[in-house]
Amino acid sequence: MTEQETINRLNAQFPFARAVSPRRMRVFTDFMPPRQFEAVLRFARDELGYGKGEHIVGTDEGEDLGFSYIVSNGETLLVIREKVPKADPRVRSQYALYPSLLMHERELVDLFGADMRELPPGPSYPLPDGWPKGEYPLRKEWNPAYFNKNTMRYEPPEGGGEAKT
Amino acid sequence: MKKKLHLPGELAGQAIRNVFAKPATIDYPHGDPSIPANYRGRLVYDAPRCINCLMCMRDCPSKAIRIENRGTKENPDMHAYLNVARCIFCCQCVDSCPKKCLSASNDILLARLSRDELSVEL
């Protein structure tokens, strides 16, 4: 199952995936809304044999949140990506498809504020329990300089400074 | 490759030999820790060659080095201060310096007793 075959089958089945292979052993799809993303992920696991969940990269795309699920069949890394608006980041946990990605999905919830449904209960990772609600450190507008370590609270000055330290 | 198991205490022979061998450890403050010559320890600063370009300050990951020009633009009087606590001894400043006026010595005994002694004049 070389990357060229993966791309052909993916694009044949899901034209909106627009899968490309920028280098050897890598296939990147385009950002997709959650519903289409779940269909492509299930197809990749069941039909294309990408059964091993490697990890998830969350990115801040300005107005939206991008979640790139990286799965592999032992050789090629397939990156399937979904995009949700920041205002309403509702996504479904893929614990059923890839149990080993549970920790990374919790990370999305903590660091990016993904509203993930069907996530199995468990400790919040990687932030402590006392972390103030609604603070998502890896978003661009969150500036670490304004986080007060002693009171564990985020106190931006009134102007809401730019995220440059 | 299933091998026949010996009696426990296979290491006993080695242990007895070691009793008479020289120990591999040294009594630290007295012995010689043999730090190699090109070790990355405290920095050495060659003031005349410095052109105050501050490339080292820009590239320092932990903002540990500070270059100061006490004189004027024409006859510069360059001084460099290194905060020994913040410095991670990565020597990126040594590589970034276009005039090669910074270099690393292998002096690693940099513990200080109080906070204000941390800033070392190079």
Binding site: R23, R24, G51, K52, E54, H55, V57, T59, D60, S68, G74, E75, L77, V79, P99, S100, L102, M103, P123, Y125, P126, L127, P128, D129, G130, W131, P137, L138, P144, K149, N150, K164 | M1, K3, K4, L5, H6, L7, P8, G9, E10, L11, Q14, A24, S34, P36, N38, Y39, R40, R58, D59, C60, P61, I88, C90, C91, Q92, D95, S96, A104
Partner: protein
């Protein structure tokens, strides 16, 4: 101490003598046998990814190098490869060889460290001392090459920062010969010493189908017969020219992982000798631009603990837009509670040590487990007594202010 219907819940960690690193386990014991294990990790979250976004690529190299103390070269190699591929730099062959040599030296000292820690976990301190004594020779070589024993910082964008002089090459050759003889002795020991075998075999079992289910990587997967060595699957740098013969075993337990790691060390010694012999001449680095062209890249490198994936995205400036490091240990955690259940309490430390956990790679923040109100009060009273005692001895520590954690 909490006891639910006759069963102990034994907390191990986050501070525990067997785990020199911050991780906590709630082990439910039925007598001596582990019934249920809850794994909680993440006491070492330092926010590396956010820090990388607010610094330049050059400065990030030294943050990435400090993700983990023992596999710092693997991380910097991956990060440098990301930037080099985005900038389209062609690293000179000599630099690739030096990177390979330092990488294999790092695998040696990381596995020797593991062998020592594993021996300590099963109470075999003599082997612990011997393996760490041999590791010192490898660390001396890394200090001679890179200038520092642990963060040898040999990598930079476009190649390496230090060259190998002929007498250093000869010195490394001598160290390799001495080390190979010792490694053969440990390998022989691991095959015949019944006390060692008795404590290591048959515990922490992870069969091939479990490895796939929990997506374990590195020696944990190879002990179950699954070859996932990135140097073979996706050869990079020097491994495009030098073939690596992969090591697998079929014991599927802690003993199998020990055998895999010792064999890998012997393989590393062979690789280092080949690389030293065929070290090409030429420059050791090319000039790297300060601004990295826009793009995103995903690079895999074989760290001592398994496959280490780096994702870097740049928007054309000299600061990265997103850096994500997936260290191998992160993948091995999911199978941990499965591996612990059903074995003795005495096996718990060695099973945990068997995946060679590197907590700083899987990062997190401090977590206050169910600290009941009363014990917190006792803690403050204990601290007051402590301060009074020191004041009676003429030292006044009351100025030191503990960080107030929010209760509950």
């Amino acid at each position: 101490m909490s006891e639910r219907d006759g069963k102990f819940v034994l907390p191990i960690g986050p501070q525990h003598p067997s785990l020199k690193e911050p991780c906590s386990f709630k082990i439910t014991l039925d007598g001596e046998v582990v019934e249920k294990a809850v794994v909680e990790i993440g006491y070492n979250h330092r926010g590396l990814e956010k820090a990388c976004e607010s610094r330049t690529f050059v400065q990030d190299l030294y943050i990435i190098e400090r993700v983990c103390g023992i596999c710092s070269h693997a991380h910097t190699s991956a990060f440098c490869r990301c930037v080099e591929e985005m900038c389209g730099l062609l690293v000179p062959r000599r630099a690739e060889y030096i990177r390979g040599i330092v990488g294999e030296l790092e695998r040696l000292h990381s596995h020797l460290l593991w062998l020592g820690v594993a021996a300590h976990e099963i109470g075999f301190d003599t082997l612990f001392m011997y393996t760490w004594r041999d590791r010192e020779r490898v660390l001396d070589m890394l200090a001679a090459i890179g200038g520092n024993r642990i963060n040898y910082g040999v990598n930079t964008f476009g190649g390496v920062r230090r060259d190998l002089e002929p007498e250093l090459i000869a010195e490394i050759g001598r160290v390799m010969d001495a080390l190979e003889e010792k490694l053969k002795y440990y390998f022989e020991l691991a095959l015949v010493e019944p006390a060692l075998i008795g404590r290591l075999s048959g515990i922490g079992i992870l069969r091939p189908e479990d490895v796939r289910r929990f997506s374990a990587v590195g020696p944990v997967a190879r002990a179950a017969g699954i070859m996932d060595d990135t140097r073979i699957i996706e050869p990079y740098g020097v491994f495009r020219e030098i073939a690596v013969n992969g090591v697998t075993d079929d014991h599927c337990d802690v003993y199998g992982r020990t055998i895999v790691r010792v064999k890998e060390m012997l393989e590393s010694v062979r690789l280092i000798r080949v690389m030293l012999r065929e070290l090409p001449d030429g420059p050791i680095s090319v000039k790297a631009p300060r601004r990295v062209p826009a793009g995103e890249i995903l690079i895999r490198v074989e760290a001592p603990r398994g496959e280490d994936i780096h994702y870097v995205r740049s928007t054309g400036g000299d600061m990265p837009d997103r850096v994500r490091v997936r260290a191998p240990t992160e993948a091995n955690w999911h199978g941990m509670s499965y591996m612990l259940e059903g074995f003795h309490l005495a096996d718990v430390p060695i099973i945990i040590a068997a995946i060679d956990p590197c907590y700083s790679c899987t990062d997190r923040a401090v977590r206050l487990t169910d600290a009941g109100g009363s014990s917190l009060h006792a803690w403050e009273e204990l601290r007051r007594l402590g301060i009074e005692r020191y004041q009676s001895l003429g030292i006044d520590p009351s100025g030191i202010r503990l960080r107030e954690f929010p209760r509950g």
